[in-house]
């Protein structure tokens, strides 16, 4: 490329030159900048981890001494001052498990529809916008809706089912969006290759797209499990706060997070509150570890994701 001849630059005044020199000296060299950046990034990451370790450590330190076998296997007595948290564990597992069992198929199906079965257009924009709005609504509003709609209008009362349905609605946007991202990350060429081998759209979706997107989808599901377990406001208004072991899905049941809230808020028993929190934290850790193990196993078996 030939450059057009340019006019000679006007001479730079001496004062200007001195300023320029001073400015340059103030700027550290790229090597030094690099070191500073690395140090800063390291420090930020360290702060994050430190906070995490501190919180978890603090709770476990105060809670674990009170977590005994009888604490895990007994029902609470005297409003939770004595006894254990078995009904809360059962309630948490039922409400959370049911919520995710309801939300995951609907969410994944929505994501599949949005990505594989319809063209980008007004409809997909509306669905996506709706999901995003849903994600931004405070959980207490979901609780109110669940109370009015599931508990009263549908007559399910304060029950595990009401709570699960409400939580399902609450985590649905997360599942839709994470599934959508995971599905979009599957290379288009995989679909073409599959179609070229004589597959129908559904076969391609099932055997190629969903199979490849499974790690990403399960990440979204695990996030939802975490959110459901730790939810208090929405379940308080829908699943209620009964202390006993539930007999059926139509019974009210208190979840661990809610139990912790009551113990701490109403100053019932600090020791048992910490113990409940410890159980909650360990449950979430266990679920995350299980999910990672599952994902790693899946990836190792299915060949790596390109």
């Amino acid at each position: 490329m030939k450059l057009a001849p340019t006019a000679p630059l006007p001479p730079v005044p001496a004062s200007e030159r001195r300023n320029a020199a001073r400015r340059i000296r103030l700027m550290p060299s790229p090597t030094v900048t690099e070191r500073i950046v690395v140090a800063l990034l390291w420090a930020m990451a360290a702060i994050t981890i430190a906070v995490l370790v501190f919180i978890i450590g603090y709770i476990l330190l105060h809670g674990l001494p009170h977590v005994t076998w009888s604490f895990l296997t007994e029902s609470p007595r005297r409003m939770g001052r004595e006894g254990g948290v078995l009904p809360m564990i059962v309630g948490t597992v039922l409400v959370t498990g049911l919520a995710v069992l309801i939300a995951a198929p609907i969410g994944v199906a929505t994501a599949v529809y949005l990505t594989e079965y319809t063209a980008e257009g007004r409809l997909t924009a509306v669905i996506r916008f709706g999901a995003d709005c849903l994600a931004g609504i405070p959980s207490i509003v979901f609780g109110l809706f669940g109370f009015v709609f599931f508990a009263i209008t549908l007559g399910l009362g304060l029950s595990i089912l009401s709570g699960a349905l409400t939580l399902a609605l609450m985590v649905l946007p997360t599942i839709i969006r994470t599934s959508e991202e995971a599905i979009r990350a599957v290379p288009y060429a995989y679909r073409e290759a599959s179609f070229g081998l004589g597959s129908t759209r559904w076969q391609t979706t099932l055997y190629v797209v969903l199979r490849s997107a499974l790690p990403g989808i399960s990440t979204g599901v695990v996030l939802s499990v975490g959110r459901s377990i730790s939810e208090t406001a929405a379940v308080m208004l829908t699943a209620g706060s009964a202390l006993g072991l539930p007999d059926s899905l139509f019974d009210s049941s208190r979840t661990l997070a809610l139990h912790f809230y009551y113990l701490a808020q109403e100053n019932i028993s600090e020791a048992n509150a910490y113990a409940t929190a410890a159980v909650l934290v360990m449950a979430i850790l266990a679920i995350n570890l299980f999910a990672y193990w599952l994902m790693r196993r899946f990836i190792a078996r299915g060949g790596h994701h390109a």
């Binding site: 679909r191 290759a193 070229g196 004589g198 299915g302 060949g303």
Partner: protein, 295 residues
């Protein structure tokens, strides 16, 4: 799919021994068709594929215009032409892969054994099994070699393990890959080299025993040795299959085809026996392209 397998297939070793020595680059193809399949000679054989006034558009912009072309059974037709001349669009029309694009519309007819593949009665999945495609970039699915190979047959409903295993072996031999992968069928297909992946994709299509094999620049990213292996495979495969090969490499068209069609700006400029097209093209534009004046 009842018409699959049973037929004995040649073996890789025989290929090696009976293969003619590779011609040097500019020599006319070593293998000439037994009969002239030039378009102006009255051809007694019925065309396998008959394209009639076919126009394909994306967003109403024609990618190929008013194309009329016959492709005969057991021939290797090479399609050459500069970029955006409609070669790939044409290939992807043959197995209706363009249908995946919403902007795609077409008119005219493509007859496969006399049946319009864009007709309302056509089962597109079954059509794609009859017209197998190999893409420019090898795309092994993220599974094991074996899973990649049996995927198409499983979709078609073949479950018998014995049949699957036998087809895997014959297809891999046809694609000149058997010796390299026979002991590692359970390995992820992504572990293979680029050339091996492309032959795997060829074998994966051959698993379905397609009547027509369409290849979209199958050697564009490959080294000469892998290219040679794929060309060898094509030479043997034409005994059973009709082959349509799109290539940007005119040398490859000269080596590995019986007839050559030259596309330009979405139109068919000329088609004829490869030797004729390369030595005495009827159209001035073909000549310009072949000597490298554009494209």
């Amino acid at each position: 799919m009842p018409e699959l397998q049973t037929q004995p297939v040649f073996h890789a070793r025989e290929v090696e021994s009976s293969r003619p020595s590779r011609p040097c680059f500019d020599a006319p193809p070593a293998h000439r068709p037994a009969r002239d399949t030039g378009e102006q000679t009255a051809e007694p054989a019925r065309p396998k594929i008959s394209v009639r006034n076919f126009t394909a558009c994306f967003n109403d912009v024609p990618g190929i215009r008013n194309l009329t072309l016959d492709i005969f059974p057991r021939e290797r037709l090479a399609i050459i032409g500069p970029a955006s001349s409609g070669k790939t669009t044409f290939l992807r029309s043959l197995n209706r892969l363009n249908d995946l694009e919403r902007a795609f519309t077409c008119s005219g007819q493509i007859l496969l054994d006399g049946e319009d593949i864009y007709g309302p009665e056509i089962d597109v999945a079954a059509l794609r099994r009859r017209v197998g495609m190999v893409y420019a970039v090898p795309v092994p699915l993220p599974w094991s070699i074996y899973e990649n190979l049996v995927y198409g047959l499983k979709l078609a409903g073949v479950r018998d393990r014995q049949i699957l295993d036998q087809r895997v072996e014959t297809s891999l031999k046809e694609a000149v890959l058997w010796d390299e992968v026979k002991d590692r069928l359970k390995e992820p297909a992504h572990n293979l080299s680029g050339g091996q992946q492309q032959r795997l994709c060829l074998a994966r299509v051959l698993m379905l025993d397609p009547e027509v094999l369409v290849l979209d620049e199958p050697c564009s990213g490959l080294d000469p040795i892998s290219t040679g292996k794929i060309e060898d495979a094509l030479l043997e495969l034409k005994a059973k299959h009709t082959i349509v090969l799109v290539t940007n490499n005119t040398k490859q068209a000269a080596r590995a085809s019986d007839r050559t069609a030259f596309f330009l700006m979405g139109e068919l400029v000329e088609v004829g026996p490869t030797a004729d097209v390369f030595t005495r093209p009827r159209d001035r534009r073909t000549n310009s392209y072949l000597v490298g004046q554009f494209g």
